[in-house]
């Protein structure tokens, strides 16, 4: 476990020493603050628009951080050849994968914490209301969803040749799942065979990342929290897909030539 934590520590250090996170945070903050200063149509509920835009930016930024950080991990180790001194030590390839996953997930979690703290300050200062448990659920579910995205990106980074192609593939897949994944069964209903079976198969195979999106509850101030039992089930669902993608990553990486 010591090795996995050591590897994770390096990934976290990399995140806070690179500029990606700071740029995304500053952009999110600037756009949110700018939106908050403009009073569209003298709407007394303008804060809802601010919350909506801020949450959307948080989701995009978190996905960017997760995918871009993960996509470069193993290719960068191979390109700079640091994988050689690393594996020449008593470190196995599955430890490298777990360390990289844990590092990316924790780094994204830290980024998410900063973003949600900003969101809480902005909305709380306007509404004088601090629904901490709702924030906790939204952030927790988003973090669980990001575990799946990170494991998927790690797998694609083993198969694909370059970090840029990994990033593109992952963005298309994740955006596709988030935008249309949940509607595939409805679409399948009106299709002829074999398209119907294909669409149903895809619907039941893909990880439904959209289930982790509870932004509307925060934006429209839903009074009730998501039942904690459902949160636990969602976390288990995310853990199952994360485990599957990590297993596929290990299977791909264990016999892979280390030379670029």
């Amino acid at each position: 476990m010591n090795t996995i934590w050591a590897l994770a520590g390096i990934v976290i250090k990399e995140l806070y020493r690179r500029k990606d996170f700071y740029v995304l945070f500053v952009l999110t903050a600037l756009i949110t603050i700018a939106t908050g200063m403009v009073n569209f149509f003298h709407d007394p509920k303008i804060v809802r628009y601010v919350k909506d835009i801020c949450m959307l930016l948080i989701w995009i930024s978190a996905l960017l951080i997760a995918i871009v950080t993960t996509a470069r991990q193993i290719p960068a180790e191979r390109e700079s050849r640091t994988i050689f001194p690393l594996l020449a030590k008593p470190v196995s390839r599955w430890q490298v994968i777990l360390g990289k996953f844990l590092g990316c997930w924790l780094a994204t979690g830290i980024a998410l914490l900063v973003f949600y703290a900003f969101f809480a300050i902005i909305t709380g200062s306007r509404e004088q209301n601090w629904p901490w448990l709702s924030y906790l659920q939204a952030a927790g579910l988003q973090w669980a969803m990001l575990a799946v995205v990170i494991a998927l990106s790690l797998f694609v980074s083993i198969v694909s040749a370059a970090p840029s192609s990994t990033t593109t593939i992952c963005f298309i897949v994740v955006a596709g799942i988030l935008l249309v994944g949940g509607h595939l069964n409805s679409v399948a209903l009106n299709q002829a065979e074999p398209v119907q079976t294909i669409l149903y198969t895809i619907y039941f195979l893909i990880p439904h990342l959209e289930w982790f999106d509870i932004r509307d509850r925060l934006v429209y101030d839903w009074a009730h929290l998501v039942p904690w039992r459902d949160c636990l089930l969602a976390a288990l669902y995310a853990a199952a897909y994360t485990g599957l993608f990590l297993l596929l990553t290990w299977l791909g990486f264990r016999r892979k030539s280390l030379n670029t």
């Binding site: 990399e14 700079s80 050849r81 640091t82 001194p85 690393l86 020449a88 030590k89």
Partner: protein, 251 residues
């Protein structure tokens, strides 16, 4: 004298992905033995199989046939690598870290307690003459400094066997001399050093024994002085004779 590194009839073939291409034989029946406390030079032209041999010893490439052992343990078992240090050829270490942080990371991998790690990091930074630059990011280092950080990371676990893949490649004469001095110092401490190199001068200076390979086959093995005496020439000529180099006659 006890053997610390051994290969037995080592053969490595790389299969080609291209249709009807035959497998490339990188190593063919390589037999080597390195004794404890020796500085062993592993020589050969580019593509001779030096790095492939090292990759097999480190478990990066599985042998097609034959076997390799470190400390008597088959190299396919990760435990064989517990007491070795490895410096790869031209590695660009995590540029966002400082040398001190890099060494601390590797020390953590070996499970060294913090106090012990601190002591070793100080000693190693002094050994590779980076004590003043230890807190600077690696991205600001010259090539020679990066190579010395590499040597320090290879020594973090106080290994009994050091495997160095072309440790002076791409360094200026001063950088080469510093690396050579470090190898000499390690030899005096009783460490076993196995290193591949093109620099025949440094091999002559620091090595107890050398092996010369060409096209994956062992061509010569012995003490530098014996090889030189046998061929009645300097090591460079011996090397060129052994690999079958024919100088082109000028008109």
């Amino acid at each position: 004298m006890s053997v610390i590194l051994k290969t037995e009839k080592l053969r490595v073939e790389f299969t080609s992905r291209e249709f009807r291409q035959t497998a490339k034989v990188a190593l063919s029946g390589l037999d080597l033995e390195v004794n404890v406390g020796e500085v062993f030079g592993f020589l050969g032209p580019n593509g001779a199989g030096k790095t492939t041999t090292i990759n097999v010893l480190l478990g990066f490439v599985p042998p097609t046939s034959g076997a390799a052992y470190l400390f008597g343990i088959d190299v396919r078992q990760p435990i064989a690598r517990q007491q070795i240090g490895y410096l790869p050829e031209m590695t660009y270490y995590y540029k966002f870290l400082t040398a001190e942080e890099l060494l601390r990371f590797y020390a953590r991998i070996f499970g060294l307690p913090r106090a012990e790690a601190d002591k070793r990091i100080d000693r190693l930074l002094k050994l590779v003459e980076l004590e003043t630059a230890g807190r600077r990011p690696i991205k600001s280092y010259s090539k020679g400094m990066q190579q010395r950080v590499g040597l320090a990371q290879a020594l973090i676990n106080n290994p009994d066997l050091l495997i160095l893949d072309e440790p002076t490649s791409g360094l200026d004469p001063l950088g080469r001399m510093k690396v050579r001095e470090i190898i000499q110092r390690l030899k005096n401490e009783g460490k076993t050093v196995f290193f591949s190199s093109h620099e025949l001068g440094e091999v002559e200076t620091v090595c107890d024994r050398v092996a010369i390979i060409n096209q994956g086959e062992l061509k010569a093995l012995g003490r530098v002085s014996d090889l030189v005496a046998e061929h009645q020439s300097n090591l460079e000529k011996v090397f060129l004779d052994i690999i079958g180099y024919q100088p082109q006659s000028t008109p």
